[in-house]
């Protein structure tokens, strides 16, 4: 049997293969030869064969049949065999194969071998791929070697111990005694690996951390020696002495100094020294500075040191080396919350990094830019960020858009600017905007009442250009549905109003319904918008037709909507105006804005839409009736249902209250409309809408209706849009006493010729010391244009004692009722 070919020869041969198939053939042939050689249990050439197998494995070919052979090599006495055997074990074996456990005994023997290089092989293999079982079996040997005076072995044992601890954390304790004098070593290898071991232990166990804190002075000394000592050729890298060790020590100091004042103080000086003395012309110096900065920021360092650290990062940002800029941005991102002002100073450099070619740098620069936006720099920053949004990769657009929305919401200098910014994002990156942005934006737009005409006009124009970006289309549809009347009446103040007819608007909306570009959700928005316009436009017949067509749509969602809307036209037409009235201002809840909006909006939730069904409505129906009565609507059968939250006695109180004023004869069934209902569901708010802002533009001055015992009630006025006979009064109750006024209830009654509706208050608690106010809306119908008078009753609890008061309000400004 000829000797198996040598490794180098095989490599040479395989490299001559011109095709993958040719290579595979050669490999297969050689594998077959190797296999038969293994079968013959040939000791002489086993090493050579395994080496060849390893080469073929590196090329991607299976080599599992060599695993046992590796074990045999490890068991051999020849050093060459062991070297290849251990290499093979590390390449071919891991803890998943049961075979690996057979190694344990060999390793144990080799750990005690007379030749340190054999011991080294064993330690290396164990520390690289030892399984937990192996580690458990051999931990004792490793611990012994950790205490040896042979630095070659000691350093390897330390890292092997690290691996053991990672695999079997419970064994950590047993290495503690051996760590006693690790740091007194002069040998850098041992020092380095010891610091790694100590770091691992401190990271895993708070007790160990406390125990090792006493090493801080020693670590500081070692670091100092490294910096101060002269040129040491053995450990020098570009003029710096053992940067690897320096970095490791700095990292350990970071862990030890975190949340500990004394340790932090002990390392303060050395950190300052490293930060100022390290040579920065090469990467290696910057690597040390980087680690130093990380440490300074993490421990309890004094402010001067922190500023020094941030300035280092600022200098990094200006470095030509991309890598340095990258780590600077990463670090600044970590510290921007805690050291905000210091980071702000480098804002313009950070913004410049948005233009960098490197994706990772761009991303960090973007995140950091958003973190730095505040009320002072919003305009300038937004310009840069919007420019970035235009030109960045698609991967960034969603995050950037979200960031822009968030920043705009927090710091918008004006509503017009805010709407413009939203428009810009929707038109340039509209398809990348997140789904939850749509309800957020809708809420924003709803609440920016004076911008409605401008907003709907801009959105309409955007739709004419492009209907492919779904979030844009959805927001636009919704707005057109709400404010279509403003659109056709050309009421825009902010810019030149466009001339558009009702038919043109309906064309656009219907176009969305049929377009292939529209997602099902978008179609839903569009249909509902069309429906809403039935109370704002005069082309009701056209709308009826559209709605009835979609009653047989394949899309179940559209079908359901269309059928419900049809029903609205046919059987409940009297309710249509009320149901489709303008949305009120939506309360933004502190935590989860979007979900709340989804319910009030009623657009994206078909369940909310369901409750618009006449049969399932309880309270809302009553409100609708009341509203209609106020509006002087048709005679309708009142659907009698109970108001769940109304206290039974309220009606009685009301009658008492209104005794002198000769009550209005209006509808006073058991559910009296003037009692504030404290726990109304959101849908209720949705149905009884009112523009809630103080219409100072209309020129009706506010007035103080009541001011006694620390409770002050102000009235602000505006005219309700469709009906000039209705005055909308908003009460603002504020409390200047030291304690909150709880269970606050405001009641009002008006003379016979008037009708009054009281909507739900914003809250029942008037905060102390004028920290906030309770608002509530009163709608007063005054068809005979008589002078408005009102009697009010206030009840609340202050410091545990109930308080009640009556008052007459006669000082209404003439404009409020004329």
């Amino acid at each position: 049997m000829p000797a198996p070919i040598r490794l180098r020869e095989l490599i040479r041969t395989i490299r001559t293969a011109r095709t993958q198939a040719e290579e595979r053939e050669m490999i297969q042939k050689e594998c077959a030869a190797i296999r038969s050689s293994f079968r013959e249990e040939d000791n002489t050439y086993r090493c050579r064969n395994v080496a060849k197998l390893l080469y073929m494995h590196m090329l991607g070919y299976p080599a599992h049949f060599g695993q046992l052979e590796c074990l045999k090599l490890i068991a051999s006495q020849k050093f060459t065999d062991k070297r290849i055997g251990y290499l093979g074990a590390m390449l071919l074996l891991d803890e998943r194969q049961d075979v690996h456990l057979l190694m344990t005994n060999c390793i144990k023997n080799d750990l005690n071998h007379s030749t340190q290089y054999v011991q080294g092989l064993a330690l290396c293999t164990l520390g690289c791929m030892g399984s937990s079982e192996m580690c458990r079996d051999l931990a004792g040997e490793v611990e012994k070697l950790l205490k040896t005076s042979n630095s070659y072995l000691r350093k390897k044992a330390a890292l092997c111990a690290v691996h053991v601890i990672r695999k079997v954390p419970e064994l950590m304790e047993m290495f503690l005694p051996a760590t006693k004098n690790l740091l007194s070593e002069k040998n850098h290898g041992v020092l380095h690996t010891s610091v790694v071991l100590l770091t691992e232990m401190c990271e895993r166990s708070p007790d160990m951390l406390t125990h090792f804190r006493k090493l801080v002075p020693q670590l500081v000394r070692i670091l100092k020696n490294l910096i101060m000592s002269g040129y040491s050729p053995e450990h020098d890298v570009s003029g710096i002495s053992d940067p690897f060790l320096q970095v490791r020590i700095l990292r350990l100091l970071r862990i030890l100094g975190k949340s500990d004042d004394d340790s932090s103080e002990a390392m303060n000086d050395i950190l300052a020294q490293v930060a100022t003395n390290t040579e920065t012309s090469k990467n290696v110096g910057n690597a040390i500075l980087y680690e130093t900065v990380l440490t300074i920021m993490d421990i309890k360092s004094e402010s001067g040191l922190r500023v020094l650290a941030i300035n280092i990062l600022g200098r990094f940002l200006l470095n030509n080396d991309k890598n340095i800029r990258y780590v600077a941005l990463t670090s600044l991102l970590k510290t921007v919350q805690t050291d905000h002002n210091a980071v702000q100073r480098h804002r313009s450099t950070i913004v410049d990094c948005l233009k960098d070619l490197d994706v990772s740098i761009k991303r960090r620069a973007m995140e950091l830019s958003f973190a730095l936006v505040n009320g002072n720099n919003i305009r300038g920053m937004m310009k840069e960020l919007l420019y970035f949004l235009d030109s960045c990769d698609p991967d960034f657009k969603a995050d950037c858009a979200s960031g822009v929305f968030l920043a705009a919401e927090k710091y918008a200098p004006s509503k017009r600017w805010h709407i413009d910014t939203i428009m810009r994002v929707l038109t340039t990156a509209g398809s990348y905007v997140r789904d939850d942005s749509v309800p957020n934006l809708i809420q924003l737009i709803t609440n920016s009442v004076e911008m409605h005409a401008y907003t709907v006009q801009r959105l309409y124009k955007a739709l004419l250009d492009d209907i492919s970006q779904q979030p844009l289309v959805q927001v636009a549809s919704w707005c057109i549905g709400e404010y279509g009347d403003l659109l056709v009446s050309g009421q825009c103040e902010e810019e030149e109003p466009i001339q558009v007819t009702e038919d043109e608007v309906l064309d656009v909306l219907e176009g969305l319904l049929v377009s292939n570009l529209s997602a099902p959700v978008t179609r839903g928005y569009s249909l509902t918008a069309i429906m809403k316009l039935s109370t704002r436009f005069s082309s009701v017949n056209r709308i009826k037709k559209v709605v009835s067509i979609y009653g047989s749509s394949i899309d179940v969602e559209l079908q359901q909507r269309a059928v419900e809307y049809n029903a609205l036209f046919k059987k409940y037409d009297h309710m249509r105006p009320a149901l489709l009235e303008r949305m009120p201002i939506m309360e933004k809840t502190a935590t989860n804005g979007p979900t709340e909006i989804v319910q009030t909006n009623g657009e994206t939730e078909s369940s909310a839409l369901d409750s618009k069904h006449p049969p399932s409505i309880t309270q809302p129906t009553n409100q609708a009736n009341d509203l209609l009565d106020l509006l002087g609507g048709n005679d309708v059968p009142v659907i009698q249902t109970a108001l769940p939250t109304k206290p039974a006695s309220a009606g009685g109180e009301l009658l008492d209250l209104l005794g002198d004023l000769s009550l209005s004869g209006g509808p006073t069934p058991a559910p009296a409309p003037s009692v504030p209902i404290s726990q109304t569901p959101f849908l209720l708010d949705g149905l009884s809408s009112q523009p809630l802002f103080n219409d100072t533009a209309a020129g009706i001055p506010p007035m103080t209706a009541y001011n006694k015992n620390g409770l002050k009630i102000e009235f602000t006025f505006e005219r309700s849009n469709p009906n000039p006979n209705i005055s909308v009064i908003t009460i603002h109750a504020s409390n200047s006493t030291e304690a909150d006024m709880t269970d606050f209830v405001f009641q009002a009654a008006v003379p016979k010729t008037f009708q009054l509706q009281l909507l739900s208050p914003s809250s029942n608690i008037v905060p102390a010391l004028n920290q906030g106010s309770v608002t509530q809306v009163i709608r007063v119908l005054n068809p005979q244009k008589q002078q408005l008078r009102m009697r009010i009753k206030l009840t609340y609890t202050l410091k545990g004692a109930p308080v009640q008061d009556l008052a007459e309000v006669n000082n209404f400004p003439p404009q409020s009722w004329q």
Partner: protein, 157 residues
């Protein structure tokens, strides 16, 4: 803590060292992904890639890419120095190392790596000491082989 390091030449993996236990298929998949990403990098880009929850630090030397996958909290700049140190060691050992050296002497490249790094961490920061250890191990290997081959040659075994 380094998870794996690789040398890639012309899209082909020359050497790879893993410090975590993964199946062969997983290793292959990861290698493919990382190789693709690294080869797609343009020269002006920085040496760091984010990938899953790790960072890939890579540096190109002639036709070879040296890549290290490290955990998120690692100091990337010092990792570059580690890579550089390894290349220096190869260079000193082989004398102006080139890709062919690594192909034909892959096991030596591994031995050198294993004298420099253990379990993903540097075990020795002195170039001289690492090279000395390799030298002596090589001598040990030669001594083990020499008598045998002489005897073989004269046909006595």
């Amino acid at each position: 803590n380094r998870n794996e390091r690789r040398r890639i030449g012309r899209g082909k993996l020359r050497l790879q060292k893993w410090y975590v236990a993964l199946s062969d298929t997983q290793k292959k998949k990861i290698s493919r992904e990382v190789i693709q990403m690294v080869l797609a990098r343009k020269p002006k880009m920085c040496s760091f890639l984010e990938w899953r929850d790790l960072k890939i630090v890579y540096k190109r030397y002639a036709s070879l890419y040296f890549c290290c996958a490290v955990e998120d909290q690692e100091n990337e700049l010092i990792t570059l120095e580690i890579i550089h140190r390894y290349v220096e060691l190869l260079d000193k050992y082989f004398g102006s190392v080139c890709e062919l050296d690594i192909i034909f002497n892959f096991e030596k490249a591994y031995y050198i790596l294993d004298e420099f790094i253990l379990g993903g961490e540097a075990q020795e920061t002195s170039k001289k000491i690492v090279l000395k250890a390799i030298e002596q191990a090589d001598m040990l290997q030669e001594e083990a082989e020499a008598p045998r081959s002489v005897l073989e040659e004269i046909g006595l075994t």
